[in-house]
Symmetry: C2
Subunit: 359 residues, 2 copies
């Protein structure tokens, strides 16, 4: 493998540029065999909570829990927040899988479904008994991002419904108003640029109340990773199980690095990098953005229709040290995906854009 | 932290001595951001299956799956292998938690319970409808290991019952006869000496059949980590979710290292190290083994009754570069625990034994 290659795959992605250094220090300091019941481990948990609250501007009432993956969080959300009825916005492979999890857990799952690459109208009517609305902010499979205004408006029209936002491939970029959603989650191998194996689940008090209510009614909401179990341990800055503490340590360090850079700068650079990539695709003779509606174009996962050029273009980019992500599912042979995460520098994107424009 | 300290805590434990090197190579080879759908990732999965099958002498019909933790496996076992009735051998904190998971998942859980530090009689009578028998081979909290003959005998008396063995803090040491149990599992931060964040679940065909049966009957057996979902991915050497692939890579390398050493030598050295530690405890004026019955004394987690000497002895050992594990739960202030894992050398144990004998 060329060490100079920049990895644009949307996940697992290029490591955040400080991770190798943090890993070296972790070994020097004994983090890989640190007890998860030690004071030092509690400090790592606390550093993440404080750092992430600053980075994302979380309200103080939010709780932060850890799982093995974001896939696990789909299951925990359905288990802990739905007695019977969930409702899902489905516009691609990942939002569909979230919906399927609700079915597998025997809930009555309803959905509004549009074709991959499309978004949703502003007037989504929820069935009256909807307990949970599941929204995939950023469809990693197609590069559609649901506008924040739409997400924030749902709470106004359905204040009794819990809003859970899958932000796996968008955070830390989107500036969610966390007072208008009840839960958001991500996995660390995308925007945070870390090795996979850790999911981060953020919930407000309403979620904890709902889980407590289901438990009191006699429902089974799981065991070690039920919300009450996660909360009872989190108040001590601990986890129910022996967690991926090395991953948590690296996350705490990358969050601190991102806070030093500043979320404002991370967001403006993300906007800039997305703008120049979409521009070259718009103006290209042979390529174009898969998502045509500018309001729906993801800033963090940019999907190009590359058609018959897919193979040749991939080879060209690889020769130039640029690893594009393959298209997902039906787009496998006709699209390329480009992650635009905080670890990707402006120079990386300017190089990518140059290479595409001269293709 | 002193870099020369040998860590005898029973988990997370001292790293296997090759792990730091493997981690360096992993970064050099791009493993931390490797796609879990790549050929290289499939090779890592395959290496673990082949290596672990050799190390543990698994029958070819066994399947190997990955979870976030062994704690998760408790839940998945109950979800996938129990319609209604499970039966648990309880003799300490961890076997008790396995039992509690069954209750939390609304099964009818029964148990044979003895005091911490004790074992079970040879004539365990299972209730006639027992679908699953849950056995904690090695109680990490007390240092009791259930004799293999007892475990193997259960299958003979109850051939229709699935036997699941929690071997979290004993593998790879015990030479289970896998034709007489149906499932075994461990987490990587103990005997395998790896950073925490990965559980390894081994099951035979009978387990897969049971899960398929429950699913066909309309039971909910979970979503991404149900046995059918794990199996459907494992046949492609893949996982349902983005896994802790870096942890899997390190595991594949440590298993290969252990196969080079040879399981026979690992087992005989474990026996030797346990023997000299138990001997010094038996002969000591102020210390003694917590588990008095030699047939029940764990070879991999050795618990010493240290009474009023606990604090002073801990300090003495730390001064000499030896980090003992604290007692667990009620034994917190009156016991010390010593892990005897493959990474601990004979020299480490001889040093420990010298220090104890001159106390």
């Amino acid at each position: 493998m060329k060490t100079q290659t920049t990895n644009f795959t949307p996940g697992p992605s290029q490591l955040f540029y400080t991770v190798a250094d943090h890993m070296r220090i972790a070994f020097r300091e004994g983090i890989p065999s640190l007890s998860h019941r030690s004071k030092r481990a509690e400090t790592i948990y606390k550093d993440i909570v404080e750092g992430l609250s600053e980075l994302l501007d979380l309200p103080p009432s939010y709780h932060i829990f850890f799982t093995g993956s974001a896939t696990e969080i789909w299951e925990r959300i359905i288990q802990n927040l739905v007695r019977k009825n969930s409702f899902h916005l489905v516009n691609g492979s990942f939002s569909k899988r979230f919906y399927e999890v609700a079915n597998q857990l025997h809930k009555v799952a309803d959905k509004a479904e549009v074709l991959p690459g499309q978004g949703f109208s502003e007037n989504i009517t929820l069935p009256p008994d909807t307990e949970l609305m599941a929204i995939t902010h950023n469809e990693t499979s197609t590069g559609v991002a649901i506008p924040l205004e739409l997400i924030h408006k749902i709470k106004e029209s359905a204040p009794q419904t819990l809003i859970a936002v899958d932000a796996v491939s968008s955070l830390p970029f989107p500036a969610f108003d966390y007072t208008k959603i009840d839960s958001a989650f991500f996995s660390v191998q995308k925007g945070f640029g870390l090795p996979a194996g850790l999911g981060v689940w953020m919930v407000n008090e309403a979620c904890l109340q709902k889980a407590g209510q289901l438990l009191a009614e006699g429902a089974s909401i799981g065991s070690y990773h039920s919300l009450p179990s996660l909360r009872d341990n989190a108040v001590k800055n601990q986890t129910p199980e022996t967690p991926n503490l090395l991953g948590m340590y690296l996350l705490s360090k990358v969050i601190a690095d991102m806070n030093r850079i500043g979320i404002k700068r991370i967001r403006s650079e993300t906007e800039y990098k997305a703008a120049i990539l979409y521009q070259v695709l718009e103006n290209h003779n042979m390529l174009q953005p898969f998502v045509r509606d500018k309001r729906l174009q993801s800033k963090t996962v940019i999907v190009a229709d590359t058609g018959e050029h897919t193979g040749k273009l991939t080879k060209r980019l690889l020769d130039l040290g640029l690893q594009p992500g393959a298209g997902y599912g039906p787009g496998k042979n006709s699209q390329l995906r480009f992650a635009n995460f905080p670890t990707h520098s402006r120079e990386n994107f300017e190089h990518l854009v140059d290479c595409l424009s001269t293709y």
